[in-house]
């Protein structure tokens, strides 16, 4: 399947980087959003695979995707894979509580994607995010 993503790479240099976070657990989603927002970036969140597709296909630019794997409707990995196949080249951080070798290999295959196993420390996530934001992005 493919997702049509209009003009995702056409962001201008003077806007804030935009990070999309998909996570079905509300508390987790909130804390992730707060943490990442603390880096001084714009954050959009989704609570299911369907929401995530909608977020990725609207007109706003996306610089980084952080997604959980197990979510209702469609797994974060499936969404990421479809987006990649449709030409979305942004870095992706896949968060999971089930980090087996098969998933690791699939994530490696995805390209410019990294797997982060739950539970993780805030610094682990933040350093991954920092390393993947555009060079001139603001940091907290």
């Amino acid at each position: 399947m493919g997702i049509i993503i209009p003009g995702v790479d056409m962001h201008s240099e003077d806007r804030l980087p935009r990070v999309v976070i998909a996570e079905d657990d509300e508390d987790m989603r909130d804390v992730l959003c707060e943490l990442v927002a603390g880096l001084g970036v714009e954050v959009a969140s989704a609570s299911s695979g369907g929401d995530l597709i909608l977020l990725l296909t609207d007109d706003s630019p996306v610089d980084l995707l952080i997604t959980d794997v197990r979510m209702p409707w469609m797994t974060g990995f499936q969404v990421a894979l479809s987006a990649r196949n449709s030409g979305l080249g942004i870095p992706i951080i896949i968060v999971t509580a089930f980090p087996d070798d098969a998933l690791r290999a699939q994530v490696d295959h995805l390209g410019s994607a990294v797997l982060l196993a739950k539970p993780f420390r805030p610094e682990e996530l933040l350093s991954l995010v920092r390393a993947r934001l555009p060079a001139n992005a603001a940091t907290a």
């Binding site: 508390d27 804390v31 509580a97 089930f98 098969a102 699939q106 196993a117 539970p119 993780f120």
Partner: protein, 482 residues
């Protein structure tokens, strides 16, 4: 009745019949010949007497003739000659007790009377009696001799060996197949004994094969049971760990956020820091549980998860470097012994290092006195445990495994504890010394590599953990796993 006795009896009866028949016919034949001889003697004597008496009767008269007869001396005392008047009774007459021959005397054409020669047949009867007695005695002697000889030979060649055979057969029937039957005879009995021995050997072989197979099956069952138990525990552990992942993550991050918020008071931030540290500890345990449970990942290893050949020596050196301070503190020497040509199994080097570190920590903790911990690296041909699906080896190649063993000179593991050492949270260490997850994690990682760990241990002599990692196998297409 016993076989030997039957044979002997039938032989004796046969012999008796033959000897008796032989005696009977011989006696009859000889008796007939004796009678014939006697008759011929009588005829010759009768002819001579007839001529002589007739001549005397014609020339000198009756008195002279009768005197001649009376004066004739018979050739044997048994023989009697006399003159009988009258005309009847001519010829020979065989009576049971005697033979009587009468010859007529003619003078001038008239019959004057006849000369009678009679002979007793007592001698013949005595001869028959003697012969019968002799034959009987002979038969008796023969029967005794033959009986004795055949009894001895029968017992020697038939009775004893058959007895041995019967006893052996009974023993076999009762299940005792040990021991060889010694019968040195080149006959049917010898052949039977040889066959019986061969049969026993085959039975022993079959029994040994059966015993080995049963043991093998029992061991396999035990391995499967053990793996099943660990798998159940692993599922439980991974279920808990997965469920804990998100809430722990949330709590950890919140605590860190509070701790690093400068607008809050110092006490509050310190408390949040401690909460964060504690959650960190829980997180560490949960990660170890996940490492243990990963050996039971639902998706089979596929081409996507192909691992690169791992440098075992480099891994071992890194692990030793990490644990050197702990070993020195406990006055232990860690030695690495590696084969000149080391195998390079496809493996995740960080995970194998973790396995080695966990095994080393375990070895160091087991060593209560100064000594040595030896890491040996090499290759070995081995048979995978029953619960493990072995990799598919290319045709003709031997199943090869890389072997990493860690041997200590510590306290050893007691037999009751041994089956449980890979269970998560099972520990014999003091509280605070270990979580009881080290060996579980090693087990999980090795299983994930399609390998296994064997443990040999002797009380107060030390333990040896052997890690078997499969070498490259034929690539299998599992289809798209996700």
């Amino acid at each position: 009745m016993k076989l030997a006795r039957k044979l002997i009896l039938s032989m004796v009866i046969g012999l008796t019949v033959v000897l008796a028949a032989n005696s009977f016919y011989r006696v009859r034949r000889e008796l007939t010949a004796f009678d014939e001889d006697m008759k011929q003697d009588h005829e010759v004597l009768a002819q001579v007497l007839e001529k002589a008496v007739t001549a005397v009767w014609v020339s000198q008269g009756r008195a002279a003739a009768l005197q001649l007869i009376a004066a004739t001396k018979p050739p044997s005392q048994m023989l009697h000659i006399r003159w009988v008047d009258g005309e009847s009774g001519y010829g020979q007459d065989v009576r049971p007790s005697q033979l009587v021959t009468r010859v007529p005397i003619l003078a001038g054409g008239n019959r004057m009377g006849f000369v009678e020669i009679s002979e007793s047949r007592d001698f013949a009867r005595a001869y028959v009696r003697n012969t019968v007695i002799r034959s009987f005695a002979l038969t008796l002697i023969a029967v005794i001799c033959v009986g004795a000889i055949s009894t001895v030979l029968g017992i020697w060649f038939v009775g004893k060996p058959i007895e041995k055979l019967v006893e052996k057969a009974a023993r076999i029937g009762a299940g005792d197949v040990e021991g060889q039957l010694v019968i040195r005879q080149r006959d049917e009995i010898g052949e039977l004994a040889a066959e019986m021995n061969a049969m026993c050997l085959r039975l022993i072989e079959t029994r040994q094969a059966l015993t080995a197979e049963t043991e093998e099956r029992l061991r396999a069952q035990e391995q499967v049971r053990h793996a099943d138990r660990l798998a159940t525990v692993g599922k439980l552990a991974s279920g808990i760990a997965h469920e804990l992942g998100t809430p722990l993550g949330v709590a950890l991050m919140r605590a860190n956020m509070i701790a690093s918020n400068p607008s809050l008071g110092r006490d509050t931030r310190d408390a949040a820091h401690i909460i964060g540290e504690q959650i960190d500890r829980i997180t560490h345990i949960v990660r170890q549980l996940l490492d243990f449970a990963r050996g039971r990942a639902t998706s089979p290893p596929g081409p996507l998860t192909r691992r690169n050949p791992a440098d075992l020596l480099a891994i071992a050196e890194r692990a030793v470097a990490m644990l050197q301070p702990l070993a020195v503190k406990r006055h232990l020497v860690i030695a690495v012994v590696a084969d000149p040509v080391l195998p390079k199994p496809p493996a995740n080097p960080e995970q194998i290092e973790q396995v080695l570190v966990n095994l080393l920590v375990n070895a160091i903790h087991a060593s209560e006195r100064p000594g040595k911990v030896t890491i040996a690296l090499g290759a070995v041909e081995a048979k995978a445990p029953a619960d493990l699906t072995p990799p598919v080896w290319s045709e003709g190649s031997e199943p090869k495994y890389a072997l990493i063993s860690v041997r200590d000179e510590g306290v050893g593991i007691s037999p009751e504890v041994l089956p449980r050492i890979f269970e998560p949270f099972f520990t014999t260490k003091h509280v605070g010394e270990g979580t009881g997850l080290g060996l579980s994690v090693a087990y999980g990682i090795v299983r994930e590599h399609s390998g296994w760990i064997e443990v040999a241990s002797e009380r107060n002599r030390g333990s040896c953990f052997s890690v078997y990692l499969p070498m490259d196998s034929v690539e299998i297409e599992w289809g798209g796993g996700s």
